[in-house]
Amino acid sequence: MAIHSVYTLSKDDAEARSWLAFFRRHGYSKLSNLMIERVYWLEGDIKVDTLLPLLANPLYQVTSPKTQLDEGSGPVVEIAYRPAVTDPETPSILAGAHALGETGLEFARLSKRYQFVGLDEDLARKIAARFLYNKIVERVRDPNELISTLRPSGKPDAVATISLANLNDDELTALSRARSWYAPLSQMRVIQAHEATRGRAHTDAEIEILAQTWSDHCYHTTWKSLGLLKRLTQATERIHHPLVVSVFKDNAGGIEFYEGWVVTIKGETHNFPSSIAPFGGVATKHGGVIRDTLGFGKGAYPIGGTTIMGTMDPRLAEDAVPSGALHPQLIVTESIRATGYYTNPMGIPMMHPIYRIHPGYAKCLALGHSFGLIPRKYALKDAPEPGDVALLIGGDTGRDGIHGATVSSTGMTGETLERESAAVQIGHPITERRFASAIPVLRDADCIRAITDLGAGGISCAAGEMGAETGVALDLDAVPLKDQSLTAWEILLSESQERMLLAIPRAKLSEAQAILTRYEVGYCTLGHFTDTGKLQATWRGERVVDLEMPFLWEACPIDSIEMAEPKRRLAPLDIPEPRTEQEWGNAFHRVLSHYHCCDQLAAGSRFDTTVQGRTAVGPYGGRNHRMPTNIAVSAPLLGKPYGVITTVAINPFYGEIDPARMARLMVIEAITKAVVAGADYREMALCDNFYTPKVRPDVAWDLKQMVEAIADFSVAIGVPFISGKDSSSGTFEAGGRKIDVPMTLAVATIGRVPDVRKIVTKEFKRAGNKLVLVGEMEPGTLGGSVYADSYGQRGNRLYDPGATKNVIGLWDVLHQLHQEGKYFSGSAIAEGGIALRLFEASYGSELGARLDCSASNKTRADGELFGEFIGSVLLEISPEADLDRFLARVPHRIVGDVIVEPSLTIIEDGKTVWSDSTSKLAESWSKTFREVVE
C-alpha cells in the first residue's frame, strides 16, 4: 500500500519558541534557533490534496511532500511512536479523512522533526532523549528507514499448553519469572496441583489469568495476609454511618448527597508506569481512576479529580539520579503535561494538584483521585443474570500494558525499565470522553445491569469479577484489535485503556447499541453471562479458557508475612534559632521556597479548574485567584447551593519518624482542612491510599501499625473510610542499591455542605481583625517539618494533637463558630506552619499580618511560626469578639492582627524583630517550582 508523507511547518510556532527559551535557560546557550516540523504519514490509495485542509490551516501552516527544514543549518532529530504503539491522533485523522470523503486512507501516523540550530548532532540527541521523548514508547526515527506499512502488523502465536507437572520449585520459580507472571512459588504450586487434580495441563491463557488475578495489584495479597483490608472494612461497618451508600466493594465509595444524589470518591496510584514512562503513566493514571467513577454503581459521572506526584528532588544533579531511574525533573514536567493532556479534554476540573519530594521516591508516587455524582437509585449494581450480554465498549484492544498488573506488583529495577516496556501505554482521552458522555444516558435508560472498567488485567479481570457469581463465556474473536498479532491470552490480558465492560439485559441490547452509536462509542458483544460458574473463552474455534470461578477467586494461597518492629535511627533536631533580622528573613525564605510550601501554580494553571460550571472554590482563590486554597468545593447540582467539599493530606516526611502517628495526623489534617472551611465532620467520609516499600518484616510491622491507627481512629471519630487502595511495591533496585519509598499514606475527604456560599477561605478579610491560633501549640516539636527539612534534618518526634476527644472537641467548636459566622478567614495548619498560612492569606488579600511572639519567651519563636501543629487552625475574628466565651472549651491564643500593608511583621516585646513585604516574600515562594518546570 502506498505511503504518503506531508511535512508541515508553522509560521508561528509557540511550542518551538517555548522549547528554545527552555533549553537556553537550562544552559544550552549555543542553541540559536529551534524548529519543529510535523510529518503526517498516510497509508492508502488516496489523493493527498483532498486531505490538506484537514492536516493544515494555510493561514499559518505550510505543507510540502518533502521536508522544509534546511538540513544544513543544524541537526534534525525525528521522534515518532514505536511501531507497536498507535499514535493518539491516528483515529482522528482517519475520522476526518472519511468525513472529507477520502475513504482510501487506511492508517496514519505522526512524527515530529526537531531542528537544533547551533548544536552538534550528539548534543541534539542528548537533549531530545532528556526532554523530548521517552524511549519506552517513542523512538528517534532514522531518516533513511524504509517503511512498508504503518500498521502494527503480524501473526498471532497459537495458544500453547503449559504443563507444570514434574517441575521442581526452582523450575517453577524460573518459569514464573521468564513468563513475567511474577507469581510467587506458593501460587505456582497451587496451579501445579490444580493441573494434577483436573488431569489436564493449563493453556497459557489460563495461567496468565490466574497470575493476573492473584497478583498483589489485583488480589491485594500483602494486605490480605496482614489482615488489613478486613481491619479497615470492619471499622467502617462498626461506624455504620447513616450517609454511607457503598464502601470498598465497588470501584469507588459513595455517600448520600442531597435530593436523591450520591457523591463518590476513589483514589488510585499508577506508580510503576509513571516511573518508567511518566507521560503515558500519568495520563493513564487519570484515565483509570476516572473509569473507576464511570464504573461505580450503574455509572457515575466524574465531577472532579486530583493529581498527586511524589518524586525525588527535580533539582538533583544528573549524576545523582540512580541509574535505571528517570530524572525527577522529567517525571514532574512530563506528569504535568500528561495531566493536562488527559483531564482537560475529559472536562473534569482539577481540584488538588499537589507535588511533593522525598529522596526515597526513586520509584515515584503517582496518585490520582476521581470524585463522582450519581442518582441514588443507580448507586448499587445489580448482579448480572445468566443470559445478559457482556458488552465491551470504548477503544480497540492492542498490545498495550500487557503484564501491567503483575509487573506493577513487583519492585522496580534498572532492568525493569527495559524489560517490561509493553506495560506502559499512551491514553486517548477522546475515546474515554465519548463513553463518559454516553454512560449516564445508558444508565438513565435502564440499560445497565452492572458496569466495570477495564484496568489492570484487562478483559480477564473485568469479566472474571463481573461473572464471579454466575459464569461468563467470552468470544475473543469479537474483540476489535489494534494489533492483529495478538494471541488469545494477550487479548485477555491487554490493558489497553479506555474500555468498559457492561452487563446488559438482552431485551435492552438494541436500545443500548443505538445510544452508543449516537455518541460514537465503539462496542462489541464480548460474550454473555452463564450459569456454569466458569470463566470460559473461545478463540479461533478453540476453547482456550475453562476455569472454575471458585478456583479463580478462592484458591489463591496467601503467604504469611513476618513482622518485626523496625529500628529507626532518629536523631534530635539541631537547628539554630534565628536571632537577627537577617536570620529571620532566611528562615522565612527557607520555608516559603521549600518545594512543599512553594507556589505550584505553574502546574495548576495548566489544568482546567472551572469546566462543568460546578466549581465554587477551586484550588486557587483569594482576590488575585492565585492563592492556594487547599480545599475544593463543587456545587454539582447546577443551580442548587449544595456543595461537595474535598481535601487531601499527604506528607512524605512524617512517616520516617513515626508511620502510625503520621497516618493519624493525615486523617486529622484532611478533616480539619474541610472543617475550618465550614464542613461538618459528621457529614464526611475518607479515602486512603497507601504507598509502601516491598514488604519486609519491618515494613509489614509499620504498615499494620498505620492501618490499625487509622481504623481505630476512624471509629473513634465516627468518620468512615469508604474507599482506598494499597500499593506495596515502592522499592527501586539498581546496581546493588535499594531505595525504599517513605511509608506514605494520602488521606482524602469527601463531604457535603448545604450551601457553598457559606464556605470560608483563607485570605484575610479586614485590617484590624485579630488572628487566633486555635489548638495546642508545641513549638518545641519541629520533627518532620518543612523547616527541619530545609536544614536537611528530620528529627525524632512528631507533633501530637492529643487525645481523640480533644481533636473532636476542636472540630465541634469550629463548626459551631462557622455556623454562627464568627470567623472571617480560616486555615488548617499543615506543612509550613503558621508562617505559610499568614503569607498565603496576605498574598490572597493584599492585606498583611503582624505577629506578636512575646508570649513565647520560654519556647522557640521559630517553632511557633514553623511548627506543623496538625489539627490546629488559624482564624481571623472580629476584634470585639469575646474569645473566652467562644473558645472556652479549646486551647487558643491571640497571635497577632491583620494590618493594611501587605507585609508580614514579627514583634517581640514591642520591638519589630523582622518585617518584609508580601510581594518580596512572594518572589521566593513563586520561584522554586517555576524554575523546575519552565
Partner: protein
C-alpha cells in the same frame, strides 16, 4: 408561537454543554442539546432552532488542530443547513472550542463557510492557561453584548489555543472586536497573565459583520450561576433571551 429553542450543538469531546444549558436556563431561555451526529444522521435540522451555541471542550480530541474536525464536518457535510441558519439572521455563539470551530469553518470573522480567514493559534506561552480574567466590552454592535458596552466582565478562561491570527486581507482592523482581555481597571491588556494567550491587542471575542455571530475564548457560562465567583457571564445569555423574545 411556542417559545424559542436554542440548540446547544456539540460533538464527541465537547465538554461544556451542560453548564451552558444551565446558564441559558437561568437567564430564562430554553435549550436543547443537539449532537452534531444528530444533524449528520438527519435526526434533526438546524432550522428547527431559533439560535445556536457551540460550547467549549475538545471536539474530536482537538486532533489536527482545535475545532478543525468539527469545522470540517460543518462545512463539508452540513453546508446548506449552516448557510440557511446564517441567512435567517439567527444568533450564533461559539465559546472557546466553539469559537475555534467557527473560525475553522470560516463562519468568523466574515461568514465565509469553507474559507478560513482567521485562526486561533497556540497560546504565546505554549501552554494551556486556566485563569480568571477581565474583559472589556467594546462599542461594536452585537446582539450578544448589547447594553454592556464599556463594562468590565470577570469570567474564567481555560484554553491552549486562543491567540487570534487574521488573514492579511481581512486584517486586524477589519475584524469586529467585541471583547478584549483587560486589567482589573478595564484597560485592554497586552501583557501576560491579564492577557493569557498573547492575543494581539488583547482580542478575546469577535463578531461577524451583522452582529449576530459571536466567538469568544473565555467562558461566560462558568460565571453565571449563584455558586460561581462572578455572574458577569449571565448578561450574555440574558441578551440572547431578550433578543429572541423581541424577534
Amino acid at each position: 408561537m411556542s417559545s424559542p429553542v436554542t440548540a446547544i450543538l456539540y460533538a464527541p469531546g465537547t465538554n461544556c454543554e451542560e453548564e451552558t444549558a444551565a446558564a441559558l436556563e437561568l437567564a430564562g431561555g430554553k435549550s436543547e442539546l443537539v449532537l452534531l451526529r444528530d444533524l449528520l444522521d438527519g435526526r434533526t435540522r438546524l432550522s428547527e432552532y431559533q439560535a445556536a451555541i457551540i460550547p467549549g471542550g475538545f471536539s474530536y480530541g482537538d486532533h489536527l488542530g482545535a475545532g478543525r474536525i468539527f469545522g470540517t464536518l460543518l462545512v463539508a457535510q452540513l453546508r446548506d443547513q449552516l448557510m440557511g441558519f446564517l441567512g435567517a439572521q439567527k444568533p450564533l455563539l461559539g465559546i472557546c472550542n466553539g469559537f475555534q470551530v467557527l473560525a475553522e469553518a470560516g463562519v468568523l470573522p466574515h461568514r465565509s463557510p469553507g474559507q478560513r480567514t482567521m485562526a486561533l493559534l497556540e497560546n504565546q506561552s505554549a501552554k494551556f492557561e486556566d485563569r480568571k480574567i477581565h474583559l472589556v466590552v467594546s462599542a461594536e454592535r452585537s446582539v450578544w453584548t448589547q447594553g454592556l458596552e464599556g463594562r468590565v466582565l470577570s469570567m474564567p478562561t481555560a484554553h491552549g489555543e486562543g491567540r487570534p491570527l487574521f488573514c492579511e486581507t481581512s486584517g486586524p482592523n477589519s475584524a469586529r472586536v467585541v471583547l478584549r482581555f483587560a486589567g482589573a481597571g478595564g484597560k485592554a491588556a497586552a501583557k501576560y497573565p491579564d492577557n493569557p494567550n498573547g492575543a494581539p491587542g488583547g482580542v478575546a471575542g469577535i463578531t461577524d459583520d451583522t452582529g449576530m455571530v459571536l466567538g469568544l475564548m473565555p467562558h461566560p457560562e462558568r460565571a453565571s450561576l449563584p455558586s460561581h465567583y462572578s455572574q458577569d457571564g449571565l448578561h450574555i445569555f440574558k441578551n440572547l433571551v431578550r433578543w429572541l423574545a423581541q424577534s
